[in-house]
Amino acid sequence: MYSQKVLDHFRNPRNVGRMDNPDGVGKVGNPVCGDVMVMYLKIKNDIIEDAMFETFGCGAAIATSSIATELIKGKPIHEAQNITNKAVVEALDGLPPAKMHCSVLAEEAVKSAIEDYEKKRNEGEGKPAESA
């Protein structure tokens, strides 16, 4: 059912855990549907220096979260922002049709975390430091 790559990322997920003081956080999904992903980013000079995740979900949900952090680490945010679920699926050597939505969730988690970072930065730029 799952490729070796999926099983590997599920079994030994990379970059798992909650990040202290992240620069951006994206939370997507919903426990009713059975998948929740939280993506944490550390960003310096528009480069993603570190990425971590926490996921409640099936094997595919955990594997896509893991591979997504790998894919974006070290990348400029404008590149990471263009991550597609297709790229996630390819990096995992495929996903079963019923699990494709997990790759979409991973894409959304990355985008939402970057958005959060940009929102915070804009707020930080536009307002005096003490209001942050």
């Binding site: 799952y2 099983l7 599920f10 079994r11 997920p13 798992v16 855990g17 939370k27 426990p31 009713v32 549907c33 059975g34 998948d35 929740v36 992903m37 939280v38 995740f53 926490e54 996921t55 409640f56 979900g57 099936c58 094997g59 949900a61 955990i62 079963p96 019923a98 939505h101």
Partner: protein, 387 residues
């Protein structure tokens, strides 16, 4: 490997396979053939029918062979509806049936029947009062399973049957998870139709049967030759039917031996889990359940993720029902019992069988808490934080 997925399928008992073996390449005759070589195969499947009739306390003529439990459910329900003289367009079933029953009723609904899908209480049981209120003058057939495949909960089929027979309504029960595990006596139970599947009780995949009470008319769903007295066409699956017969014979002799041993192992497993893992619960723990089944809800983690991690450690279990895999829906059984979606996603089913040992249970009790801990560490939800 520690196999704890016996409700999905069981290994064929070696005695079963031994009995089947000569019928592939040696005594391979077609039971419909008139020559003695064909009649030898005929005699063997009639012997199998005898063993099944003995197990079920019924007459040989009341047994119709099928290719499995799903076909048995389709035949029992559709076949009698087509043949019954009592006209009426209302049917009743429960909301926790296996898809092999649910989808038969959904199809019948499309064809114009009205179907009531009965709710269950929080224990997962049909309440007789609820059923009684659902019945109508034009109710022709009710189907309620004997034991649920996910939770193991036993439905009150005896009370249901008596109520229905008072009103002249046909009663079918999907006993796929019960036959061979617990004694069922068709001579005293108020059941008209019952479905079973060999591979759930030590027989091979590819054989099942319908018990169809004498004088209940049933139309074949697969038509062709005059096999099974015109109730199911197609060359009989001789080896698998013989295997099912042997499995029935073994079950009849050994049922009592296994109940207590397996039940004790299951109880040990449940106690261990409750003791070592916080925020878990056993579904319908205090209700009459199959002695081999344990459905565990683990908060903050998802079922498949637990299943796969157990699989990595050589422990084979199921999350919800194996037969619905590929579906993203959480178990319809848990939802029907009133569990919220987020809890229903976190279910793991352990189902034990003959070959399981205490040592294996000890291993599971060592591995499972570790798996849950690992996954909870990855989870964005922590104790008391799930909303």
């Amino acid at each position: 490997m520690i196999y704890l997925d016996h409700n999905a399928t069981t290994p064929a008992d070696p005695r079963v396979v031994k009995k089947m073996l000569p019928y592939f390449s040696e005594k391979y005759g077609n039971p419909s053939s008139v020559h003695s070589f064909g009649q030898e195969a005929r005699a063997a499947i009639e012997e199998a029918r005898h063993h099944i009739a003995t197990l079920m306390h019924c007459h040989e003529k009341e047994i119709i062979f099928t290719s499995g439990g799903t076909e048995a459910n389709n035949l029992a329900i559709r076949g009698t509806l087509e043949a019954t003289k009592k006209k009426g367009r209302h049917l009743v079933t429960s909301s926790i049936e296996h898809h092999a029953v649910l989808n038969v009723f959904k199809r019948l609904e499309k064809e114009g029947y009205e179907v009531t899908f009965l709710p269950v209480n929080s224990d997962g049981r049909i309440e007789i009062q609820t059923l009684a209120e659902a019945l109508r003058p034009d109710t022709v057939l009710v189907s309620v399973m004997t034991a649920n495949n996910e939770s193991g909960v036993m439905e009150p089929i005896e009370e249901i049957g008596f109520l229905l027979h008072e009103r002249g309504i046909l009663f079918h029960t999907d006993a796929v998870q019960a036959v061979g595990k617990i004694p069922l006596d068709c001579s005293s139970l108020p059941i008209d139709l019952l479905s079973a599947s060999a591979h759930k009780f030590g027989g091979p995949k590819g054989a099942g049967f319908v018990y169809c009470r004498k004088n209940i008319r049933i139309n074949p769903q697969i038509v062709g030759g005059h096999h099974e007295k015109g109730r199911r066409a197609g060359t009989e699956n001789v080896p698998c039917i013989i295997g099912m017969g042997k499995a029935a014979e073994i079950a009849h002799q050994e049922i009592n031996k296994e109940v207590f041993r397996i039940g004790a192992l299951r109880d040990k497993l449940e106690e261990g889990i409750l003791k070592s893992i916080p925020e878990v619960r056993i579904v319908s723990k205090n209700v009459l359940r199959l002695y081999n089944t344990s459905l565990v809800l683990v908060k903050y983690v998802e079922g498949e993720a637990m299943l796969l991690n157990l699989d990595f450690e050589g422990i084979e279990v199921s999350s919800g029902s194996a037969c619905t895999s590929g579906s993203l829906e959480p178990s319809h059984v848990l939802l029907a019992c009133g569990y919220p979606h987020e809890d229903a996603h976190g279910s793991i089913r352990f189902s034990l069988g003959k070959t399981n040992t205490e040592e294996e249970i000890n291993t599971v009790l060592e591995v499972f808490p570790r798996v849950v801990e690992k996954l909870r560490k990855m989870s964005p939800f922590k104790a008391q934080s799930l909303t």
